[in-house]
Symmetry: C2
């Protein structure tokens, strides 16, 4: 069965409770990222330029517009900080493409939160399937999988919400095949978060247009002239989810920096040692990250987010790496940080996957401690909730975290979107 | 100089009078196609689905909306009939991607028609440059050049209209690189005209967003991870226009059928012979068209548009091939047509380019006549105007043709867009 037919089947499946619970945690995390993202001054002009229509769908930072516009703006703002969730097999950020589409459409359709969460779960699972199907070639050649695979996930979620039949869903996916886009060349520019917003809008539009009678290539995704064939897709084998949904392997960021640093920071969190007792620290990581986040002597807050030595030193000296505001230019010049950075060595280890890190810590006393972490190590939903609540508390403060948390575990969609205003 | 830098230069160039005059003819032709396209019942749902905002930019069929929405809808409707202009080196339809963006933005900015026409000329020239740069590989692998190259042309035109500086224009083109899309897989579905509408909207949005402060990859079009490298672009050599602008080689359709049939129909227009005197007719054409528009025994009006034998018979029997309504299912079953079709032979001739056709006509008397035509044969602007006015008269009727004609050769933008209502 081709992937288009698999997706159509997936669109009609029941969602397991565990998968939906994971989705609610991602909704919580995503909304917090969007609320904070709306405060980024760089994006104020873009946000204002979109606010030409009024509608039912709330936009981060206040105001409401039509579903497509809200999806575009919320997708962009929620990815602005790069602090949202990741799925390594998808090679992308699943929530920022799917959730903006689902939430905007859910408000338009006046849906219950439960149904919106189910649709989002389907959408994220679909994104992961398409991401795996497109494979690493697609990513390596230059496509931003968050946006390309994400657009198909958003489309399938929207098609489910609009109750499209099989033929309409096929047309929606076919329309998406002509609209899905986004280049990795944008990394380091505002074009990166925009890619996520465009994917979310594509999902809303492709489904609404199919509902309005637009037709498209039935094999737009996997035909001989389809998206996969034209966009360097591998066409890897994928299967419909049975008991275990791939959404369970989502990684949430608990540190406001590049995801390549997170396994190291998690490993280090067990160190519990005063910085002045450290003689040497060796970090082993997957070769894949060496060209991504190994800036040895960062000079800006942005560079700090891509530096093993800097973030390790920050963590050991008690500067919370989960606090966005701690990544300043000044902290890269801090004397204690610089002294500690000089004791840290980073080396690649091809036996480690990109979710793993190993640390060897040598104390002044000569004592040697070894620590390791794998981001894919099982974490209970409770433990994950606790960590996410801590993250969101740091982002939004206690009161707003409390309100958002109770909204996302509750039944009412409006309670969630009421939290979107302000930043 | 890379193509991005060339495009930025082009954006600031003066437009020669002759090129602008050609653009006005394409504006006339495009508007007529859009007005008629708005009457296509299939697209009514799509059109309605977009009309959620009000704004200054007129939409074919009535109503007005924001510039981006008007560009999307007008681009789609004006390509719905596939009766708009073509540029063979671009491998696409230049006006349907550029003009919807330019006209919608011009209304928003309250510009004079002259300035809008200049911007459109720049935009079309840019589309052709990017189309040539992407090359035939890009088209063959499955990209719809009308949409992909067209989006860059629309972006450059919009950037000029918004008076963006070099840096902003570079960002606009960089944003476009993440948004330009459209698959040939859509041919035969409503997704094909939609591709044109999406390209037009991309132009408006990329320029407005760059103006609003969005940044993007400076080398989004021609960098190592850019649009060309990721989308199978050839990177062919292109030059900035000097005396001769490539817009002068635009072909307008004077027959409501596949462009592959037009050289043959033009050649035949000089035949001036009664059908019952014909013993045999041989059509020679470029091999490229044999798999595109050589349906020997069409059964529907749509198939008739892709048939040498059918359209040749129609022309010889006096059924105007410039009249959309003549392409019916019934006419494929007409006895005289069928009898004449049986006398027509179509053969490929590799010495002919895709704009050329040769005809050998044998009469009952034994007399043999030879005719040929090349769509690129020079045609004066006056001769082209006359032919286009005839086409538009057949589409809109005398009064509305007269009004549209005087509007496009006049100074006022509003006079043109006032013609958009109705169909």
């Amino acid at each position: 069965m081709g992937i288009t037919e698999q997706l159509i089947k997936l669109g009609g499946m029941d969602v397991p409770e565990e998968a939906a619970a994971m989705m609610r945690l991602s909704l919580f995390d995503w909304a917090a990222c969007g609320i904070i993202g709306a405060g980024e001054a760089d994006f104020a002009g873009f946000r204002r330029a979109q606010m030409i229509e009024e509608g039912p769908a709330h936009v981060f930072g206040g105001d409401a517009s039509g579903a497509a516009t809200a999806a575009l703006v919320n997708g962009t703002l929620s990815h602005a900080l790069d602090y949202d969730d990741t799925h390594f097999a998808h090679i992308g950020h699943p929530s920022v493409a799917v959730l903006p589409a689902v939430m905007a459409l859910a408000e338009t359709l006046d849906m219950r939160l439960t149904n919106a969460v189910d649709a989002a779960t389907i959408g994220v699972e679909a994104s992961i399937m398409v991401g795996v199907w497109l494979g690493r070639d697609h990513y390596q050649i230059g496509y931003h999988q968050t946006a390309t695979a994400g657009a198909f996930g958003a489309t399938l979620a929207a098609a489910r919400m609009l109750d499209l039949d099989k033929h309409q869903t096929r047309h929606a996916l076919g329309l998406c095949a002509s609209m899905a886009s986004g280049l990795k060349a944008q990394f380091g520019t505002m074009g990166k978060p925009l890619n996520a917003g465009l994917a979310a809008r594509t999902g809303v539009e492709a489904a609404l247009w199919a509902q309005a009678g637009m037709t498209a290539a039935a094999d737009g995704l996997d035909g001989a002239l389809g998206f996969g064939a034209t966009h360097h897709g591998e066409g890897a084998d994928v299967k419909l989810p049975r008991k275990d949904w791939q959404i369970s392997e989502i990684s949430h960021k608990f540190h406001a920096c590049c995801h390549g640093l997170h396994a190291m920071l998690e490993a280090l969190s067990g160190a519990n040692v005063a910085a002045d007792r450290i003689a040497a620290l060796k970090i082993r990581t997957s070769p894949r990250w060496m060209s991504v986040c190994n800036i040895a002597e960062p000079k800006t807050g942005l560079e700090a987010k891509f530096s093993y030595t800097q973030t390790a030193a920050m963590a050991l000296l008690g500067h919370a790496t989960g606090t966005v505001g701690n990544f300043t230019d000044a902290i890269t010049r801090d004397k204690d940080i610089r002294d500690l950075r000089a004791k840290i060595e980073v080396m690649e280890d091809p036996t480690l996957s990109e979710t793993q890190s190993q640390i060897t810590l040598t104390l002044d006393s000569g004592e040697v401690r070894r620590m390791r972490h794998d981001l894919l190590a099982p974490m209970t939903l409770e433990a994950r909730s606790d960590k996410l609540r801590g993250k969101v508390r740091a982002l939004l403060g206690e009161d707003r975290e409390e309100a958002l948390w109770h909204a996302v575990i509750g039944p009412e969609l409006d309670a969630v979107t009421a939290c979107f205003a302000g930043n």
